[in-house]
């Protein structure tokens, strides 16, 4: 078990390094001239040669690329996440302020997706090809197609239209003001949760259908065990393994989806910060945020792999 975890962590570290190189290539080398990326083509042409050289020197952009990369990697490791080009707040402070909100949304959305997806999967799998199953499958197909941010816009609009309600726009922490915080995160969490629930219901249904056919389930039934107990005690735990893995993959959907969804709800989370960085063409903030999102995604998937190995000896002992 420990050797498995160690191996997984080593691979994870390698992946994070690879990801950082990829982020660096995308944000610093692809744009050609970073000053064009910052000022736009129009602004760039208005700068004089001397100004350009001064900016390049101040931003450390005139060093060789590998020096720039190492400097960036060093500052990331040291926790110095730099400054926005347009704002006074440092990125580290921004992470502290906005990060918890997005983390809450992500966690809550996973809980919602399980609370909705698993029961739907059980009903679907136990009574396949009935009206309930068809309805569940139709809803999951629908939710796979609807863009989350649009559902978010509709919810905001509907609440405003019929109830005159609008979620608070300012950030509030879970501990200082739990109610205001809940109002802030529940909307995005429901939208992202239902999006994941559609995948989980689909996967859970086919996993359960497969497990139910296994010999050991038939044995449990044959020895006279109550049908519900067989499902809850014998079938479900095995059917949930692929669902846990899927939940890890879906974290990508949550992390990425939180950006447009937070914009739709005007939630003051990290996703909204990324939207601002993109619309202001703030490449330094964007570079760090993209790296952070990818690193978190990698870490979450390692956590899921370790959890699966812990739950399933067949993987652990391989």
């Amino acid at each position: 078990m420990y050797s498995y975890i160690a191996r997984r962590l080593a691979f994870g570290a390698l992946t994070v390094i690879g990801v950082s190189i990829m982020v660096f290539v995308i944000m610093r080398i692809l744009p050609g001239d970073p000053l064009v990326a910052i000022f736009g083509m129009e602004g760039f042409t208005k700068l004089t040669e001397a100004q350009r050289a001064a900016y390049m020197r101040d931003l450390g952009l005139s060093d060789p690329l590998w020096v720039q990369y190492l400097a960036w990697a060093k500052s990331i490791v040291q926790g110095d996440w730099g400054h926005s080009f347009f704002r006074a707040e440092s990125v580290a402070d921004m992470l502290m302020r906005r990060g918890p909100i997005t983390a809450e949304i992500a966690l809550l959305s996973v809980i919602i997706s399980w609370l909705v997806g698993i029961p739907v999967a059980i009903v679907s799998a136990l009574k396949p090809n009935t009206a309930a199953d068809s309805a569940a499958r139709f809803l999951s197909i629908l939710f796979l197609a609807v863009p989350g941010f649009w559902v978010g816009m509709l919810i905001v609009l509907g609440l405003l239209f019929w109830f005159g309600y609008r979620a608070p726009l300012t950030g509030s922490s879970l501990f200082a003001d739990p109610m205001a915080n809940f109002e802030l995160v529940i909307g995005p969490a429901v939208v992202l949760g239902l999006g994941q629930a559609a995948y989980i219901a689909r996967m859970g249904r086919s996993a359960l259908l497969e497990v139910i056919r296994e010999d050991y389930v038939r044995t449990a039934r044959a020895k006279g065990l109550n049908g519900r107990l067989v499902i809850a005690w014998h079938a479900l735990p095995n059917a949930l393994l692929p669902v846990i893995t899927l939940s890890g993959v879906l974290m990508g959907l949550v992390l990425a989806g939180s950006v447009p969804v937070e914009r739709a709800f005007a939630t003051p989370g990290l996703g909204f910060a990324m939207y601002i960085a993109v619309s202001e063409r703030d490449i330094f903030v964007m570079q760090n945020l993209v790296f952070l999102y990818a690193a978190v995604f990698v870490a979450l998937n390692i956590a899921i792999d370790v959890t699966i190995a812990f739950l399933d000896p067949r993987i652990r002992l391989r």
């Binding site: 690879g18 990801v19 995308i26 944000m27 197609a145 863009p147 992390l255 990324m274």
Partner: protein, 295 residues
Amino acid sequence: MTAITQPLAPSRLRTAWHGIASVFRRAPLSAFWGIVAALIVAMAVAAPAIAPYPPLKADFRAMQKPPSEKHWFGTDQVGRDTLSRVIHGSRTSLTVAFGAVLFGTTVGALWGLACGYFGGRFDMASQRAIEFLQSFPDLILAMAIAMALGGGLATVIVAIAITRIPFGGRVIRSVVLSLKEMQYVEAARGIGAGHARLMFRHILPQCVAPYLILATTHLGVAIVIEASLGFLGVGIPPPEPTWGNMLSDALNAGLVPPWWLVLFPGVAITLTVLAFNLLGDGIRDLLDPRLRGSV
């Protein structure tokens, strides 16, 4: 001569007709959504002919008007007709989706073919690179690339295509790995066929079905990513109408966005994605009978 060829023509037509009819009988749902998808493609192709108004024409006497007889889907802040903009939006949406999926899946598939065929160190390095690519949530990667390259149709296509490469690479590689061991490939190698001939003449044709399945299942994802990029302001810039930037504009219209500006572009995205997803499911069932009914 004519006596032989003439009866052939109608019979071939009849076979085609039978094929289509049998698809309708066996999978009526997929066939229906296939028709919806075809109608959406037709709408995109014929956009200028169908749209009641030019999509960029402002009308200052009809600004932000709710749906009416003159403007079925209402008008936006500067009086542009929403229906016409939704119709024209389908053009960008489909161009980007088809372009990105075709480009991304093809590059991925060729890469996967090379990985599976040659194996060894090249394969090892490639698998790591693909892992790095997959470590990014796809929209985040697309956002970063689109922003770095600076917006516009071509950059959005490239950005979305790059996020599709790992899927093509993985799937085709595993297909090639099993094909490589088949006897007919061994036989061809025994006759003395070179690498290129083996790869492209003997192995590649077997990859067509998984390629088509992959491509169609990713169309829907590509449409959603394109809309999200437009919504976040890194897609195709306004005034060119796309469903994503229309939703973004609606949000910028004021504290309370007019409902018709929110509703219609979103319905367009949902219907299109739904149609392509279900069509993809149908194509998968048709081409890969082993998977039929599994999901």
